[in-house]
């Protein structure tokens, strides 16, 4: 789908940082100690990386992190047990073959999830979609929340919707006493959210659905400045609210997959 992108380009590699650190440390150990120690270090780091991915999976329930965790674990085991570089004694050589097979299978599965954008934090898609029909208009920014109207839903609808958005990395929900607040997380921001969600939300945009049906939107300065031009701020808030109201309607009608399809149809990059 072609459309004029309103957000600034981002080439952040935040998501690859843990892997780059793992491999860099392994390479240094390889150079300064020996290759076996290097491989063992990478193997151990990938084991820890797998634990980190499991933690993200628990936080988000996104299947791609479970797959990534499995792949990282298998890759660590593969390095530690591959023929000729046996670091851990394996009594049955069939186990090594089995690990290799599982590693290949999980690689295919992981690539599938990455290329079908299931592993993508979709904050950028949200902001692109909200700004699609908006014209530039300067000096409109204000830090006030914007009442975006009302919608009909039950508390259970909202909680189910929140779980769906979290699982598909569309927006991270914060459950409060009288409402649920959704914070879209962009690809380069995921660690900020994961490590300190409360601090993260303080200066980010949010969409809140209270249990009386009121929808409120707040676009933060950080997210507004991420647009190439100063867009009409009230329309942007309005559109963002309407977008989430529409998403909730899809969810209530049992057509939640349309939410993900709509976001994926924008065709933004897989890693930003």
């Amino acid at each position: 789908m072609y459309f004029a992108r309103k957000l600034k380009q981002d080439f952040s590699i935040t998501g690859f940082i843990p892997a780059i650190i793992c491999l860099s440390i392994g390479a240094l150990i390889w150079i300064f100690i020996d290759h076996k120690a290097g491989l063992l270090a990478v193997s151990v780091f990938f084991g820890l990386y797998a634990g980190f991915s499991i933690w993200i999976f628990i936080r988000t329930r996104n299947i791609s992190y479970l797959t990534a965790s499995l792949w990282q674990l298998l890759f660590g085991l593969y390095l530690a047990t591959r023929p000729g570089y046996l670091l851990i004694p394996v009594f049955n050589s069939k186990i090594t073959a089995l690990i290799t097979l599982f590693l290949l299978a999980s690689t295919v599965w992981l690539f599938f999830l990455v290329f079908t954008r299931r592993a993508k934090w979709k904050g950028r898609e949200i902001f692109e979609l909200a700004s699609m029909s908006i014209e530039p208009q300067p000096d409109g920014f204000t830090e006030r929340p914007h009442p975006s109207g009302r919608s009909e839903y039950t508390r259970n609808d909202l909680i189910g919707f929140a779980e769906f958005l979290r699982k598909h990395l569309v927006a991270m929900p914060y459950f409060e006493e009288n409402r649920v607040v959704f914070v879209p997380v962009k690809m380069e921001d995921e660690f900020g959210y994961l490590f300190n969600p409360e601090k993260f939300r303080q200066n980010r945009s949010w969409i809140a659905f209270d249990f009386q049906g009121n929808v409120t939107v707040n676009i933060s300065r950080i997210d507004y400045l991420d647009y190439k031009e100063e867009l009409s701020f009230d329309q942007l808030c309005d559109n963002l609210g309407k977008l989430f109201i529409e998403f909730l309607k899809y969810y209530r009608k049992g057509e939640a997959d349309r939410i993900v399809n709509k976001l994926n149809k924008l065709g933004l990059g897989l890693t930003y």
């Binding site: 000096d139 409109g140 204000t142 830090e143 006030r144 914007h146 009442p147 809140a208 409120t216 701020f233």
Partner: protein, 199 residues
């Protein structure tokens, strides 16, 4: 009694020495400032000011006397009771509110440089912080809002949005017509501070 007189009376009555002075005034047929000051061990100027204030408020009466020296005043009680009555309804701006005021179209002013703080429940604005002046003279003014005012401002159109009249914003905010005076008041204040603009 108008508010200024009442404020002056209240201020005088709140003095530490007011009761002692009234005791003297009630006891003596008439008394001079110097006599009262020496009797209560106060500065003559303090007593003189108090007695003059009471005279201006028509609680005391006075007479200028000459006893071979400079003329001075002797004071005595003109009344045996003090009643303070203030009509608070005169402070209401209700009479100023009419259809024209409610039809006033407003919105937030561009680059107003203010901070709106939302309530914990996030459905109304709890305060507006305005920065005034430049450099070292920059001062901060924080206005805490009543809930109806906060709800009203929560629905105030954004700087780029179309203007809306006060009545329409009140309808959106679901504020009661009994809150009109306080809403008009905050609109006036924020217009004065350059936070709200009108058509």
């Amino acid at each position: 009694m108008d508010f200024k007189e009442a404020a002056k009376l209240g201020s005088c009555l709140s003095k530490d020495y007011a009761e002692d002075l009234f005791r003297l005034l009630a006891t003596y047929e008439s008394i001079s400032a110097s006599e009262a000051a020496s009797r209560l061990d106060l500065h003559i100027k303090t007593v003189q000011d108090f007695l003059e204030d009471m005279y201006n408020l028509k609680i005391l009466d006075r007479e200028e006397v000459y006893e071979g020296k400079r003329p001075y005043f002797r004071y005595w009680l003109k009344t045996n009771q003090i009643t303070m009555s203030i009509d608070l309804t005169t402070f209401s701006q209700g009479e100023e509110v009419n259809d024209i005021r409610l039809k006033l179209k407003i919105r937030e002013k561009r680059n107003a440089g203010v901070k709106f703080t939302t309530s914990r429940s996030n459905d109304y604005i709890s305060s507006v912080t305005i920065w005034m002046g430049e450099g070292r003279n920059r001062t901060e003014r924080k206005i805490n809002l009543s809930i109806p005012q906060g709800r009203f401002l929560f629905h105030l159109p954004f700087p780029n949005a179309d203007y809306l009249n006060i009545k329409e914003i009140m309808r959106k905010a679901q504020t009661d017509s009994t809150n009109i005076p306080e809403i008009i008041d905050i609109v006036n204040v924020l217009t004065e501070f350059g936070v709200i603009e009108t058509t």
